[in-house]
Symmetry: C2
């Protein structure tokens, strides 16, 4: 399958580290040293997971898409920070696009949701029930975070991305998805308590950040190797790695384990924070123009709960 | 694909209509006349979407399942009333089953989630990425409802179901899934405002119940006919219909439109209320022993947002 085009939407408000210095007495140096984050975006009043996804879709459609939007025959949404669990983000997008009678569903595997969403698209393509899918990933972390939480309040940012994916190649500029692997890892470490978002309790908290860190550093390199091997490639064939944007120290640890140089690492956490399941899609969208024909890119994710995945894209 | 076995879990506390008479001055006659509901179950303190799903899985495994639980290679959860959006219901079940490194994801298309979950399983089977799946559907409506809401407070109940589905037939008692269709209908009527659950606002509310009613009565008969036609069957070949358990008047309207007699309708709303996406699965589980070889059963769903689906099962 092929990524035809993609877009990203970021709220305009920028929250610098000084906000958390004022609020929680955390110095910018302390935050940067531990997370790599300098600033992040915060959705405005009235914005939410669904409105951000719709904005990303609008930007997508401003591009030259290789077929009419009316040919979209599947919408899969991904989020763990839902505005509405009934009128899900995918349904809000369906409404916006005025596309009746196509499968529409929203999923969560936390920060791994991007790859689970694309794997579900792969399944619809395999069944022959769809051939032109729209994936939207959107996380509105600031709707659920506690900004006064000195453990994780400063980590979170908001953002969304929209990705058009077709079963068959539509144009020369399509990016091919060569291999996609996902897995739940709820049996590992402190999976079911390390990072949680219980809407009826107290939003997103991370009581065991160290366990998340350790497992992310194990799973992302491992599954990245697996997608490369499955395609007969080695780490030397890799041009860029886009890991889940949870913490820049995790990303550095992952490339260190894989033995790839820093210039092959693509990151946006420095200026966006952890934008949840949207982070890697935003990074792919931001960097689309620098990729050159023939290059191999791996997106690898790790999510609370736990879950993991990797996807090999060839330009 | 084949349903090998299924189970259901219901919390023990029964809430009769007199509870809402005392609370909201709604007479039992008024509730029954409008909804068909006499009583519903309410999860106990400490129970939630995930614990109910795990209880359903425990009951499933007490049955003779046709293969080792260690052969399960996919878990798909469905809920619109999540206990945790990061450690999703599917991840909680993965943890309980101690089954590492298989795809795990939780989805929502509101009350349609059962059929979207099974369609995602169908996709994994088509890709060859799984062959023995566990679907869990669980809704904890009372975690999000406002019991004082005189419009919809009395409708909701809690419950869960677990379903084992294999790509190939495992035994003579398997039920075959012959055809499955799902669709989003967020373009119809007041889809994006008629029934909503915004966790950060005020839980589940139904400002336009009449619009939900009308659309449910249009979509469920239509898609039921579609799955039958796709298999070369007519309504006369149908032995039982299990519609989404939202309101008994909707169910009666649906069988009236389809022209099938009341004895072919399977309902549990009278004693369980609207148990969300678990309702039809619970009904299938409750009635498993009455089905006879060769019978055709249609499960049809309609969910807020909107979304719809139908699945033809042959015993």
């Amino acid at each position: 399958m092929y990524i035809n085009t993609l877009s990203h939407y970021l709220p305009s408000e920028v929250i610098g580290n000084e906000y958390f210095t004022n609020l929680n007495n955390l110095s910018s140096e302390w935050i940067v040293e531990r997370t790599g984050i300098y600033e992040r975006r915060k959705a405005a009043q009235g914005e939410n997971t669904s409105t951000m996804a719709i904005e990303a879709v609008k930007l997508l459609l401003e591009d030259n898409i290789p077929f009419s939007k009316n040919e979209i025959d599947l919408i899969v949404g991904g989020t763990y920070t839902p505005y509405d669990t009934i009128v899900t983000v995918a349904h809000a997008v369906q409404h916006h696009l005025a596309l009746p009678d196509i499968p529409v569903v929203t999923i969560s595997s936390a920060c791994s949701s991007l790859l689970n969403a694309i794997e579900i698209v792969e399944g619809y393509f395999a069944m022959g029930k769809a051939s032109k899918a729209l994936v939207v990933v959107s996380d509105h972390n600031t709707a659920y975070y506690n900004e006064s939480d000195t453990v994780s309040g400063h980590l979170w940012g908001d953002g969304a991305s929209a990705i058009l994916i077709s079963k068959e190649r539509q144009s020369d500029s399509d990016m091919q998805i060569k291999k996609l692997i996902t897995g739940g890892a709820a049996t590992s470490g402190k999976a079911i308590e390390a990072v949680v978002l219980r809407p009826n309790e107290r939003g997103v908290i991370m009581p065991f950040g160290r366990d998340v860190f350790q497992n992310a550093c194990i799973y992302m390199p491992k599954v990245s190797q697996q997608v490369l091997q499955a395609c007969g490639l080695t780490i030397n064939d890799l041009d860029y790695l886009i890991p889940h944007q949870a913490n820049h120290r995790i990303s550095l640890n992952v490339i260190n384990t894989l033995g790839i140089p820093a210039e092959k690492l693509i990151s946006n956490i420095q200026y966006l924070g952890n934008t949840g399941c949207a982070g890697c899609a935003i990074a792919l969208s931001e960097n689309r123009s620098r990729f050159v024909k023939g290059q191999n890119i791996v997106i690898t994710v790790f999510g609370g709960g736990y879950s993991y995945g990797a996807m090999l894209i060839t330009i």
